[in-house]
Symmetry: D2
Subunit: 352 residues, 4 copies
Amino acid sequence: MLKVAILGGSGYTGIELLRILSRHKSVKVEAVTSRQYKGRDVTEIFPSLRGFYDGLKFMEPADFSGIDAGFFFCAMPHGSSMEAVPGLLKNGNRVVDLSADFRIKQEKVYEEWYGAEHKAKGLLKDAVYGLPELYREKIKDAALVANPGCYPTGAILALAPLIKQGVIAAGSIVIDSKSGVSGAGRTPALETSFAEVTEGFRAYKVASHRHTPEMEEILGDICGKAVTVTFTPHLLPVERGILSTVYAGIKKPAKTPIKTPTKTNDLIESFSSFYRDEPFVRICPAGTLPNIRDVRGSNFCDIGLVKDERAGRVIAISAIDNLTKGASGQAVQNMNIMCGFNETEALDVPPL
Amino acid sequence: MLKVAILGGSGYTGIELLRILSRHKSVKVEAVTSRQYKGRDVTEIFPSLRGFYDGLKFMEPADFSGIDAGFFFCAMPHGSSMEAVPGLLKNGNRVVDLSADFRIKQEKVYEEWYGAEHKAKGLLKDAVYGLPELYREKIKDAALVANPGCYPTGAILALAPLIKQGVIAAGSIVIDSKSGVSGAGRTPALETSFAEVTEGFRAYKVASHRHTPEMEEILGDICGKAVTVTFTPHLLPVERGILSTVYAGIKKPAKTPIKTPTKTNDLIESFSSFYRDEPFVRICPAGTLPNIRDVRGSNFCDIGLVKDERAGRVIAISAIDNLTKGASGQAVQNMNIMCGFNETEALDVPPL
Amino acid sequence: MLKVAILGGSGYTGIELLRILSRHKSVKVEAVTSRQYKGRDVTEIFPSLRGFYDGLKFMEPADFSGIDAGFFFCAMPHGSSMEAVPGLLKNGNRVVDLSADFRIKQEKVYEEWYGAEHKAKGLLKDAVYGLPELYREKIKDAALVANPGCYPTGAILALAPLIKQGVIAAGSIVIDSKSGVSGAGRTPALETSFAEVTEGFRAYKVASHRHTPEMEEILGDICGKAVTVTFTPHLLPVERGILSTVYAGIKKPAKTPIKTPTKTNDLIESFSSFYRDEPFVRICPAGTLPNIRDVRGSNFCDIGLVKDERAGRVIAISAIDNLTKGASGQAVQNMNIMCGFNETEALDVPPL
Amino acid sequence: MLKVAILGGSGYTGIELLRILSRHKSVKVEAVTSRQYKGRDVTEIFPSLRGFYDGLKFMEPADFSGIDAGFFFCAMPHGSSMEAVPGLLKNGNRVVDLSADFRIKQEKVYEEWYGAEHKAKGLLKDAVYGLPELYREKIKDAALVANPGCYPTGAILALAPLIKQGVIAAGSIVIDSKSGVSGAGRTPALETSFAEVTEGFRAYKVASHRHTPEMEEILGDICGKAVTVTFTPHLLPVERGILSTVYAGIKKPAKTPIKTPTKTNDLIESFSSFYRDEPFVRICPAGTLPNIRDVRGSNFCDIGLVKDERAGRVIAISAIDNLTKGASGQAVQNMNIMCGFNETEALDVPPL
């Protein structure tokens, strides 16, 4: 049994890690830290877990050096992660970091968007971006995996096959995403309180959300040149789920020797082929589209495709559970890959 | 007191008309028809209205020829409206039609998207598109007003100032709209049942929704040339409200002598000026964005603006209540204009 | 125009007062105080009110002595109200206090349940409990009206006719209430955040909620003897509304000369007669039951009745909007009565 | 591998059975019938299951005689089940019936409440009521298990320890239950459509719901004498979950030699002891209460207890997922017991 520890386990990604790992055959959760809840029973704070972690108590985060574990999930806020990770790695542990701290390779971009100097620059080049559908081979050997942001996971998976084919017109990408409230974290705030959210819907951080450079860097890495996107996140009155509606203009055939996807069915075929061996990507059959309900509580990313022939645009729509494929599920998938477990272990369950 | 009648009053637009008209000083609802509920008390079907329409019963639709009313709201399904309206007008009545039947001037476009021959082509050229912010003067004298669709209302108001200025790059418009469930009507269906909708979110009729040609025709009318848009509607797990996130590329300055809006604040100023005298359009101050909650139950259209300077795109976001400004409220606004009442009568109340 | 002021106007009862008063013909809101938001525009904090209170700013609460108003709504937390009210009254103003501070006549009961000494005991005997259906005549002449709690309003109206008739068996009353989240106030807290409330339902403060003694005192006042109730509040995943399902055993006929209600229809008749002249109480016809949706945003209290003949129990179910009839609407109704306005002014609108 | 079949698999209990059984190590779903969907892929109708039942198609119900399975889940409507079950049993199969047809032993009570003659009376005495916490030993050997109703499951588990102790005063039981919308089934209806349910709450079938006699029969069986309850179901705006708030008066000590539970802590201890060995009943620690969120998607029944010492009443609150412990989860639990599998197989996962 692999002993794992969760640093910063009192947020929604923490409880989701605990929920998933309770089903894992080869893993034992040895420790969970939380400044806020230190010394209290995990099941007192998360009563849904009663019967699964009885006896486990939240530890003081500062004590993690004494944890007898070989694998760490770092679920701390960005800024804190980059202070903790170097110490963890030194002891020979392997780490999946769920914060933004190691996702962006260009430290200047990080510092511009996150407004703070990076404190572990030396680790940036070795950290692997934990999107298995694109970087599985690198993840296998990584000591440090930077778990992707929730919005980038869904948006990149909806764009990757097109980007790789090189058929998207420059500057034409618009990513219109809608996320459930759990994405905003567990700290109480007026704008995420029930009476402010129910029966409401709004955009926020339009064209200025920090996941923008993360998307652009990875999309650029796929196609080998700079990519600029317009990204608008919205807040949905649901607990879990992100639906990203992604628009991309298609290059005029004259300008590209590559066969361009001219029909919806071509798109579906092309995506199905691209993701043929992926256990967690499901391409919707023609005439159907993804719904965040159909991936709830699961590690799936469902993708639907439509060609707007009148306007010459592809519309690719992806649905994920922001806490599972968008965070903790993907983190466990990465751990499975890093540790040689079956990649779907603890994750092969249908959505609720 | 003007006597009004509502044809097809058992749907959500019907009850919304009744709700609004109960506050109207100069109007009396003389009759409401419904095939489904004929002979039953209005307040039995809509208990929220108890105390406001006691004694009023739904009539058989076929009997409307005997209704002693001078003004008709036609809230019947498209197809039925174009059969009823000619008869109503012959008797010298004035009509606001809430169906799609008289919105699209080009009968071929209607027939292509609605899949049926138009049966009252002769009325198409005289019917006025009932968006007061654009066509108020024509509405004043119209006998027949075609009340705009819910999606077009919000989308057109978000685009009109830019379209009029001629600064939008051809083919660059993407309209990503999210609507509450009441927009799907009151007829029970699996896909709008609570247990299928709650905690869900999905797109539907991507690049094929019938409101597309309506938007394109009116936007084309504003700028005097053909406009093509990509339009994606989504179903929100809320009762009321449409938020439309509208993306438009801005022409390169070289190509236009007109001063292009280069900053968010310029956009806000320009929109504020365009809608200066409009009682129901509210432009959000810098740093704030619309929320469908803030217009719920009201006739307001709130518009927020952001310039994505990195990508050279404008993002204009509008919020309306689909049953009020998107249907029955706008219908009453049109009636007020047609009948010389104060335009805001019965509509000048804050959102819930 | 009566000038009114709202003390503590930044909570949900504050915005609801502003929403209702914007429609009031004879009233002008002169001032609104808020410690949290002092100096900021009311419409910046509550964007739904844009266009109705432009220019009005929140004032520092301590400055209210300088407010030029003749009528005050005190919407401050309990404890603070009893410090402010004596000063307001001294200046000859009239006051509706929305806190719990003047609802309970027995200061010992107050101190036991609220855990603090009462600081304005001298006002207790003159404060009138502001439930117009029971105390209208006293309200007319009152300088200080204690606006009822949200739960007591619905529960007392569901029980009053039976209590007055003296047919309820001693010790048999169970009040099972379910409230929307806005009842918990606007201060952010984990237990009222969206991601914790949606798709959830739970009881809280079982048999220990502070509204219990308020109900018992008023019910006792109606029948002239002590009444004990079991009261269980629950949190509903909705914004607004309280449904109270009230159970009461009926005395055996032998023990009472009064005709006992033996059938559902008798109950409906008896309640309809009791509330015949009440503008805001609606008794549901046989076969129908109240729904919080049908009173949303309105000042109505809908009551449905069923006799469980097998078990010898009456089940009386009341629905109110906790922010309207349960708080601010009732406060305006009380002001209307105190000031000689039409009792339904600003309140005679259908629910949303 | 045990081959199982699901008759009537197109409702919410059908998909829930499929969801749960996909995790079962020792079971293979051989066939699913559905009149509505015959011939169509299961995953076309339930896209959340894509990847789990690819290739499985709904069969015509009439064909089940040819199904090669040894175990049947009958998820057909009541009335249809009693026609199908005798044939299934004749072939030596074992059956869990999820309808109401075999729950009530007294055929007259069935016929009175369900308004139809029972067509398989001969099976009533051998059918075992499938509440493992009370009837586990009988279930082991049963050929036919009548799976309990959703409301009775939660209500009976909240009352059983007290009923068994004999401390409840006669005629004092009130069961106030609140259920999610999935309990109403998957057939579209106006009263369960999203726009009618969201932000709403109401009671229905007050004192007349068909689960009443089921509760009374089982409670009577526990204590050996007739029990009458008042039962009020309500419709919650959530997808899944039932919270039952159960009130029971406690006999005066004089009247019973048994030690009566006088404090909340005594109740908790007594319930914890009663359910000590039960894998799916969790008693809430003092100071905490159940929430339907904490059992969502799981087979748990959480129970919280409070003594209202002022009124001499016990308040026992139970939470279940109506589709899991209230239907399909319990059905699988029964199958596990009947077939000698580990009782928690496929059910030992934390709630979502």
